[in-house]
């Protein structure tokens, strides 16, 4: 019980600190830029791109593929690695609280903030696309909003878990995060379905969650997975389990390192 209480106390404190972080303005700007793209696309896209196609493509590419990974990993690294770098972690490590509770609390806070901000952003994207005029065949499909909000939030949770591990383990976690996103994720997540290596990325399970939830028509399915020419529903697999495994393994590795490290005396890489 004390463990849970301290975890939530750390989460609350981290959340309040995050709200005072000036870098939140960057997140706001990034989201505004995405919304502006939504308005422009809603106004000028060719007529064959109806509201559903526009929202699915922009929602996936802008939010799930670009904003969610970069924003979530950046903020998680700020939160976990920031106090290791400036050594304020000493104030926390002195308390009668297990280090695992400290790390879990920080992760909970950053995952909640990023998840909520991105879910709100992807919901506003729907409004941005819909506002310029009726692009929808029939009425706007509002049911897409919770699907995208939930999926983007789940992506944020997974990315923050990976970043938490990087931040606990490496001296330059942002470099590792960039290598993960550009070098690994972008290269592997778009391999054809037979390459099961895809499951070690976040982009792939996130896309498969969308496939299952949205029941995509073949053209839209191909737009989200260009290398997979013959999309079939059975290719979805168990994306939630894949995502959960990524979160659990990343957090376990992060906790293992964080609880054992002497951050004052770490050798330079």
């Amino acid at each position: 019980m004390y463990y849970l209480r301290s975890t939530f106390a750390v989460a609350q404190q981290t959340f309040l600190l995050l709200l005072r972080n000036r870098l939140l303005w960057l997140l706001l700007l990034a989201e505004l830029a995405c919304l502006a793209i939504g308005v422009v696309a809603g106004t000028f896209a060719p007529p064959r791109e109806d509201g559903r196609a526009l929202y699915v493509q922009l929602g996936y590419w802008l939010f799930c593929f670009v904003l969610a990974p970069w924003v979530s990993m950046f903020f998680a690294i700020q939160v976990v690695h920031g106090d290791i770098e400036d050594r304020t972690f000493q104030y926390l490590f002195l308390r009668p609280v297990r280090r695992s509770a400290l790390l879990l609390g920080k992760w909970l806070a950053v995952a909640a903030l990023c998840g909520a901000a991105l879910a709100l952003g992807v919901a506003l994207l729907f409004v941005a696309i819909t506002l310029p005029g009726s692009r929808w065949i029939g009425t706007p499909e509002w049911q897409l909003v919770p699907v995208f909000a939930g999926t983007t939030a789940a992506a944020a949770v997974a990315y923050t878990a990976i970043a938490t591990w990087f931040a606990a383990r490496f001296r330059r976690p942002l470099v590792w995060a960039a290598m993960f996103l550009v070098g690994l994720q972008h290269a592997i997540a778009f391999l054809p379905a037979q390459a099961s290596l895809r499951v070690i990325t976040v982009a792939d399970p996130v896309r498969r969650i969308l496939y299952r939830s949205l029941d995509l028509e073949p053209r839209l399915a191909r737009d989200l997975w260009p290398t997979e020419r013959e999309w079939r529903p059975e290719l979805v697999g168990q994306p939630e389990l894949n995502l959960l495994l990524i979160v659990v393994i990343s957090l376990a590795l992060g906790l293992w390192v964080y609880c054992r490290s002497e951050y004052d005396s770490r050798p330079r890489e």
Partner: protein, 309 residues
Amino acid sequence: MTADGDSVLLAFANVSKWYGQVSALMDVTLACGAEVVGLVGRNGAGKSTLMKLACGLLTPSQGAVTVCGLSPARPAARALLGFCPELERLYERVSGRQFVAWMLRLHGRSGRAAWARAGEVLEQLGLGQHMHRRIGEYSKGMRQRVRLAQALAHGPRVVLLDEPMTGLDPVARHEMAEHIHALARTGVGVLVSSHVLHELEAMVDRVALIHQGRLLAEGTVHELRGQLRGQPHRLRLRSVAPRELAAALLGFEQVASVGVTADAIEVGVTGEPGFYGALTALAAEPRGLVDEVVPLDDSLASVFGYLVG
């Protein structure tokens, strides 16, 4: 003098610490009871490493550290510890009161109790008027008080203060010394490091001298000075006839230098044995050449200087 076995609050038993091939501490044994123990050493001597070992931020490579009989790796031991690091950074965007209250919440206090206690401690440390301002706006001295407040707020049994005087003005230094003394009176063990040796000397009960990771000596300043009879040192001898006294002393082979003033002379002694016997004999002569003997080097700085060369 060392802390009794029963009253030991903080103990280092044959503690060594290596960073890879580099040895930071070698076989340090030290105990601290409800008293103020000063830690003296040059930069890189191992003072901060010793403190971080005491609060569990580092693990000893060899030997054991205990806080009230518990390993500092255990949360129960950390509940009994307060550490004021030398660190400059704090949580810049929150107020002093909020920072201290947050730290208290991690000691299991409710939000309301933590908030009230934080205000109380900051008030005691003279930060009452400024406790609601952001830490980023604080002066060095105010930041130092906040650091001290987070170390004391939860009522620890052992307090570790790494350079607590840094950035404080003379009045604040005096107040800080009073706070430290008051802590020891309430049964708290205090281990304090400082480069300002004369201030440290005034506030500590015992001193531990650390050099190149080794504990060179420990005891009161006077005891340490007593161990240094064989070292060169200086004396001031007051006399009604200083020139005559100087002439007599120049005949001593242990006297390296003599300086004469109006009513006294300053003598540099090599440290070889026999000087004090000869001086006693000279003072006992009917001429009454020696009125008073005052050691000029009986300070912590001198002792430290002698020990580390």
